[in-house]
Every structure is written in structure tokens, then in C-alpha cells.
């Protein structure tokens, strides 16, 4: 049962993906994928997040579609948090996606 749902989910995602490609619609808009904007190494905006998993001034982990995003750096502050957007300020050194 679980396998079947997972299969279906993947299938729909694939179709959505093809649809987005066919009509040249940005994928983040259609698929709820995270969109990350980084300005230098001092500011990061993350749209379409699914919640914070971990926060400290050296490491921030944010849940995104299909896994999590790990931001490593120094003296990082969550400048602003909205239901779909996070703004991080500080010195960013690394971004890491994990399933």
C-alpha cells in the first residue's frame, strides 16, 4: 500500500515536471520547490519552506520539499519568518541539501 502511494506520488510529480517544462512555467511556482536567493555571503532568502528543524547561530536546518536544507555559517540570525519565507542574515559558508 505504502509502496503504491509512493509510486503514484512520484508519477504525478513526474507529470507535473513535464507539464512545467512544456509550458515553461518556473518549477518552484508549480511544484512548491524551494527558491533560494543568496546575496553575497551575508543574506539568504528561502521561499517555500516547510518549517525549521534546527536553529543555532552556526547551523540552521530547514525542512523543504523532498528533504532538508542545511545552512552553515557564523552569527546567523533569522531576520524574518513568514509561513512561506525565511530571511537569514549573517555570514553564510555552506549550503547542503539532504534527502
Amino acid at each position: 500500500m505504502l509502496k503504491a502511494t509512493k509510486y503514484l506520488l512520484e508519477k504525478t510529480r513526474k507529470i507535473q515536471n513535464q507539464f512545467a517544462e512544456a509550458f515553461e512555467i518556473p518549477q518552484d511556482a508549480l511544484l512548491n520547490l524551494p527558491r533560494i536567493t543568496i546575496i553575497g555571503d551575508g543574506e539568504l532568502h528561502l521561499e517555500n519552506h516547510k518549517g525549521i528543524i534546527e536553529y543555532s547561530s552556526e547551523k540552521i536546518r530547514v525542512s523543504v520539499l523532498g528533504g532538508s536544507l542545511e545552512i552553515t555559517g557564523e552569527a546567523m540570525v533569522l531576520k524574518n519568518i513568514k509561513p512561506d519565507e525565511i530571511a537569514v542574515r549573517g555570514t553564510i559558508s555552506q549550503l547542503l541539501f539532504s534527502k
Binding site: Y55, L78, I81
Partner: protein, 411 residues
Amino acid sequence: MILKRLLDYLLGYCIIKVAGPRKERFINFIINEKIPLWDIVQKGEDELWVKVYVSDIGKLRHIARKSRCSFKIKAKRGFPFLALRAEKRKGLVVGIFLFMIVLFSLSSFIWFVDIHSSEPLVLLSEETILREAARLGLKPGALKSRIHIDNIEQKLTVSLPQLTFVGIEIQGTLVKIEVAEKKVIPEEIKEKPAHLIAAKDGVIEEILVLAGESRVKVGDTVQRGQLLISGLAPQKVVDRKTGEFIEQGPPKVLEAKGIVRARVWYETVSEAPIIERGKRLTGAKREQWSILLGNKKIVLKGPRLSPYADYEEKRQTRTIEWRNLNVPVEVIQTIFYELKPYQRNWGQEGAIKNAKDLALKILETKMPKEARILDQKVDVISQSGNVIKVRVWIETLEDIGEKQYFQPETD
């Protein structure tokens, strides 16, 4: 961003300290509840400082219980808290309001009245204008709202007829009255006894006596300085028996006035060449810029010397001045204009005409503007080589009267 800060300040916000092992959960819950929060900072080992609006604090308690976290209000910032504090210090607030009220009320009065005039006042003194303005209500201590500028302006011009213009301007607590006095026309010069005498030799053509007694007739030849109209007019009375005018009593002393037109002759001799030689500008020019350093001249631009054999030069010097400092450097602009000799043959006729024109020009400076030329004659006197000499004679009709003031004999 500043706008948001301002909004935060006006709404009032708290810095809360979140502690507990599941702080992230607490924050996620807050986000899901759509409660705005910002500036999340990690402080110490196990603490988060978060900013939230005051109005949302109540909702947080429920969330904290759900996420098994504890939070504490660390600091309160913004206007609502300031207002709360002000309530405790009523005196201060009352003082601020009192100050404002006093400031406002004092600024609604007039404290100074100034009078301005572009020219110094002659007919009126400033005090009189100020007194008159005060009488109309425009004085220090008057309420600004009671003053109708147009009304006072109009009334001031009526009550002070020496003024042609009154402009009132209120600048805060200062009132500026701009005035312009009527121009005083100097009193007419009293009639001074005078004769009218001839300024030039001539033959009288017409006489029009406005005041005085004429001493010449039409057709008379007069000489320069001759009396034309006397300022001593005998008083005449009609004799009843004979019906004739007879003189009676001492003559009346007055300023003789009248128009005495006479024919006047002018004569002059002038000459002009048949073949005219001279130098003329060709239109070509060269510019030279140089600077004068002490006694040394340095050419910056253009030719060092005049490029033309025959030339006329125009010089313009400019000293460099900076504020009060006079730099001993002069910038000189020199323009050389080329000259070329020319020759023109006027012929005999042309030369005579030129000489005549020249003579007329000379004569014109001698005669009054309103003189009318009646006749003119040109005689060629001599022709020696290239030069023709002519005598020009003209006859004009003009007013030859001239005033001569005299001291009347006193009895």
C-alpha cells in the same frame, strides 16, 4: 525597512527569551499560527531571543504549553510602553502639553511690527505710521486672527494720504509693513523776472508774445543780444475820452515768454578730396591669447606677432581675482585686424557733394534741432590739386529767443 521599524515601534513589541529543548518546534508553531515574528537570535547555549508584537503575547502561552517550551519577556519596546510609563509620570505629560499650549498661544499674537520702505521716509515718520497702524489694531500684543490684512492696508492708505502703497506681511509673530510714500513734486519755481533777448543775428519772421511786451516788429533785423520781449510791461488802461491805451503806474515786472522766429544764416567752409586714399579693414583677423607674468609676456595661443603688415589691434586684459586676492597675473586677449590701403575716385561732383555733406554736418551741431532749413547754397571756392574747397551757406527759420534774468529795481 525603516517603515517596518516605525510600525513595530508604534505597535509595540517584546523581546522574548525562549528556552527548552524544542525551541524550533515552538517557532514553527508560531509560524503556522501566522503570528509575525522576527530577529531570531541565538543567545548563550540554549536560548533564543525572538521579537513579537505585544498583542500576540497572549497567544504564545498556549503555543508554549503545546510545544513544552517556556518563554520569558526580556524587554518591552515601543510606543504603547512609553505611554504606559507616561501615565505614571503625569507631571511630565502635563508639562509637555502646557508647553505646547503656551507656545501655540504665544505664537498666535503679534509681537513685533516693523516698517520697511525702499526709500527713506520723508513725509512721515515711522512713529506716525506705527501709531496709525496701532489705532487700526495692528500692534504688539494683538491677536493674529483678529487682523484682516486687506482691510488694514486699505484703511492705512486712506488715513495716511501721504502713502501710495501699504503692504502688510505677517511672518510668524513679526509684522512687516511695506510702505511707499507719494513722490513729492518740487514746488514750481517762482516766476523770475526775465527779458527775452536774441541768441543769434537774424531777421524776425514772426513774434508770439505770451508774457511781456515785444520790442521788435516782424521784418526787423536783430543782432545778437538785442532785446526782443521785455519783462517790464507797462500797465495800460483805456482812456475814456479818447479810447486809446495809456500807460499808468509803474511797469509790471514779469518773466517774458514768447516765441520769436527769425531767419538765421549759417556759413562754413569745408573740403573733400577727389581721390580718396586710406586704409580699410579687410575683415581678416587673428586672435592671440597671452598672459602677463610680472613684466614677462607669454603667448599661449595664436601668433607671437601680428601676421599682417598693416593692422589694427584691440586688447582686452583681465586680471585674475579670487575673493579679495589679487593675483599678479593678467590674461591678455589681443585681436589683430588686417588693414589694406584703398583708393577711391569720387570725381568732381562727388567730392563737392562730400564736402557739402561734411559742412552740413558741422552746421547741424550749431543750430537747434527744431530749426527748419529754408535755403542752401554751395560755392566752390578753390580746387588745388586733389582737394576741393567749398563754402556752404544755409538759411534757417528758428526760435532765437533766449532768457535773460534781471534783478527788478526795488522802490
